[in-house]
Amino acid sequence: MKLSKAVKRAVGSYQKDKDMLIQILLDLQSMFGWLPQEVLMEVSEQLEVPITQVYQIASYYKAFSLMPRGRHIVKVCLGTACQVRGSPRLLDTIAAMLGMKPHETSKNMRFTLETVNCLGCCAMGPVVVVDSMYHSKPSTPALRKIFETAK
């Protein structure tokens, strides 16, 4: 019930305009944190767009996740400026600390480790974003602290 209402509101806020499919999915993604199958089917039905098209969009763009994500999202920037300043090594460090590979979610749903291609704050590189908090050049002890406080 709740789910279909949420979809209805999202679809309604764009006057059921089919051109707005991406915008609608973006809103739903930020609401749920990911796009469950039921949401996609509901969108297809309410917007009267074939499910194949909805799925095509949801699987093509990086902003959408078809898998549930962890409570805390750790994003390591791999843009060129961060790359030059050692972000791949930082990613390795973080992956080793969290005991998981990039693009994985921990089994207890605590962390999802993601990479991004440039957040546009290159002066601070290498940058790690944990739950929308930006961290510039974090040291290993600083990272330990950040991850410990994220329950």
């Binding site: 763009y61 902003a63 290993t140």
Partner: protein
């Protein structure tokens, strides 16, 4: 504010006078940069505290206001606070500095030495921001207004003469005259291609079919480039005014602003700007009472690099998958819903009001023969002054990197500068005196691109750089055409092998062959240019490729598979710093016991190398030669014995 719809030029000028009359130029205005970088350093808190403190210290009469502005460009030194009219610039401002800023500088006009920028070369403190080397050598005609404007207040833009170019266009010029003015200025597209803007406009204007669309491309996907974000975030009305003028010239009544998903503040500020412009009557029906109608919708991207390509972006606006189309016919003729669609980059649009106000001759008096005006660059990577800089076309790369950027940090050696993002290439030292110009950079095998300028020093491996860009494009390729999809995958495999010490004879030739096919046969510009980083690194740094392939050695000591970390027992003072910082506990030893690295546990994260104090420099990177054994196996050497 924002309650009246302006319906004539007279009313606009009356409003401008009203706004200006409330502002006393003699009184202080204190601005805080709240671009994304400064926000991360806590500039919003600094701003909040400033507002509180001004009230607390009873300075309302002395200080007109504290203003949260968009990005000033000096991102390395955030949070940046500038006090007008004196233009005193404070950098790296902390919360605890705020009361003193208010009591000393704002109340008494006294400058606080320790908050001033210190020139790393001369060691001198610099008080005024026009005197800071980063700013001094710039020409900030497009980007400069950012520091005077609260991007969420349309009145700030109007106070600076905003929307006067629009009123001039609508009432003193015909659409044709506006178009001719832009053509005459020789403005070229700032998004990368450098296509003449006026000619693009003319194509859309003359193309059959209604409605016509005008679009702002703020899908700034090039890693290392963020000037469009800062403009869209910091001065959205400047871009919007350009768009409306362009729409008038090409006879479009509907427009879109496409903003990249990774830029939430840019989206918010744009939405707010559109709303305010609608309320004031700069958008909507009969703009300023002229009879010209235009409406704008914002479209957020969903994360796909290729969506910055014009036909892909237009598909995304239609709500479809953002794949490029074969451009037998240009999007300027057949774009959104197969209607004529004129798409320009954020920076291009932001140039338009300036050209209308100051004239085509003014713009074409700046720059080189082929490239007119200025360009905003994001100067990033291994350079002292990181940030956004706007310079006249024709400035040399050396001036950009050394005079403005302050050179390479920590006395390292310059190796190359990468321009043009994943479609561009690297430019080595011998070409540093090349003037920055669309055609000159292309001649070197790179390109201007959107303006990302990533400086690389001796620690950057050129093969790894090529691998990085190729694998970036490999992930971002939409997969529609085979040369791009499969070519990139093959290039990635070869380059990864070389970086991992598995390179073979013939690899270099294979890279060149594949690149050629991709250049000739790919569907869109992503594919035709994707091999550029590999080709330019090969052209200028072939020896590095050969060292990897033949000697299994990475000259920059950056490729993990070819590099090992070693603590020199002669130099190690057992200070415990690397020991504590190692994320995998690969470093053994202890207090007073010389440290050594257990190679099996080492993930080569470079942390120990970075944290080892320079006066010891005990951590060494070794590539292409055998690793010395750890100190006195099993029994660890006690440091005191050495003394």
């Amino acid at each position: 504010m924002g309650n009246q719809r302006i319906s004539s030029v007279k009313e606009l000028e009356k409003l401008r006078k009203e706004i200006l009359s409330k502002r006393d130029p003699g009184k202080s205005v204190v601005t805080v940069c709240t671009g994304t970088a400064c926000q991360t350093y806590g500039s919003l808190e600094v701003y909040g505290k400033l507002v509180d403190e001004i009230r607390k210290q009873g300075l309302e009469g002395v200080v007109v206001e504290a203003k949260a502005t968009g990005c000033h460009g000096f991102c390395e030194q955030g949070p940046v606070v500038v006090i007008f009219p004196q233009e005193i610039c404070y950098v790296k401002v902390k919360l605890k500095d705020v009361p003193e800023i208010v009591s000393a500088t704002l109340a008494q006009g006294r400058v606080i030495e320790r908050l001033l920028y210190k020139d790393p070369v001369t060691g001198q403190r610099i008080a005024k921001d026009p005197d800071i080397p980063l700013y001094k050598n710039q020409m900030r005609i497009v980007f400069g207004n950012n520091r005077y404007i609260n991007p969420r207040e349309i009145d700030d833009y109007i106070a600076l003469g905003g929307y006067s170019a629009l009123s001039k266009s609508l009432f003193q010029m015909t659409p044709k005259q506006v178009l001719e003015e832009i053509k005459k200025s020789n403005l070229r597209g700032r998004g990368g291609g450098g296509f003449p803007t006026g000619i693009k406009w003319e194509t859309t204007r003359n193309a059959p079919g209604e409605p016509k669309y005008a679009i702002v491309n703020c899908d700034e996907g090039d890693p290392g480039a963020y000037m469009d974000r800062s403009l869209m975030e910091g001065n959205p009305h400047g871009v919007l005014e350009g768009l409306i003028i362009g729409a008038y010239a090409i006879r479009s009544h509907e427009g879109f602003i496409y903003v990249r998903q990774e830029y939430p503040i840019a989206s918010e500020n744009t939405i707010q700007a559109i709303k305010q412009a609608e309320e004031y009557g700069f958008l909507g029906e009969s703009i300023l009472g002229s009879g010209f109608d235009f409406k704008v919708t914002i479209h957020r991207g969903a994360g796909a690099f290729v969506s910055g390509e014009s036909s892909a972006l237009m598909s995304a606006i239609e709500g479809k998958v953002g794949e490029p189309k074969m451009k037998y016919i240009h999007t300027a003729v057949s774009g959104i819903k197969e209607r004529p669609s004129c798409l320009n980059n954020v920076e291009t649009w932001a140039n338009v009001p300036l050209i209308i106000n100051k004239g085509a001759e003014w713009l074409s008096s700046i720059g080189t023969d082929g490239s007119k005006g200025t360009k905003i660059f994001s100067l990033v990577g291994k350079v002292n002054n990181t940030g956004l800089v706007e310079v006249p076309m024709g400035m040399t790369l050396r001036q950009l990197i050394y005079d403005i950027g302050g050179g390479i940090p920590q006395g390292k050696k310059f190796k190359a500068v990468q321009t043009g993002g994943p479609s561009g290439g690297v430019i080595p030292e011998q070409y540093l005196d090349t003037p920055i110009d669309f055609d000159e950079l292309t001649r070197l095998g790179s390109m201007m691109g959107s303006g990302g300028t990533v400086v690389m020093d001796e620690d950057t491996c050129m093969v790894d750089t090529a691998r990085y860009f190729i694998s970036f494009c490999c992930e971002e390729s939409c997969g529609k055409c085979i040369p791009c999809r499969e070519g990139l995958r093959m290039l990635r495999e070869i380059l990864t092998d070389i970086c991992e010490g598995k390179g073979q004879e013939g690899d270099i030739e294979a890279i060149e062959d594949i690149a050629k096919v991709m250049q000739d046969a790919s569907l869109c510009a992503l594919g035709t240019t994707a091999a550029n980083p590999a080709l330019t690194t090969l052209k200028y740094f072939r020896d590095e490729y050969q060292a990897h392939i033949k000697e299994k050695r990475c000259p920059a000591k950056a490729c993990k598979a070819l590099t090992s970390y070693y603590i020199d027992p002669e130099k190690c003072t057992a200070c415990m710093i690397c020991f504590k910082n190692c994320p995998t506990e690969a470093i053994h030893g202890g207090k007073g016991i010389i440290h050594w690295i257990e190679q099996e546990k080492c993930i080569k994260c470079n942390t120990c190398f970075e944290v080892c104090p320079p006066r010891f420099s005990a951590v060494r990177r070794i590539s292409g030669e055998p690793l010395p054994p750890p100190p006195a196996p099993e029994t660890k050497v006690i440091r005191d014995k050495k003394r």
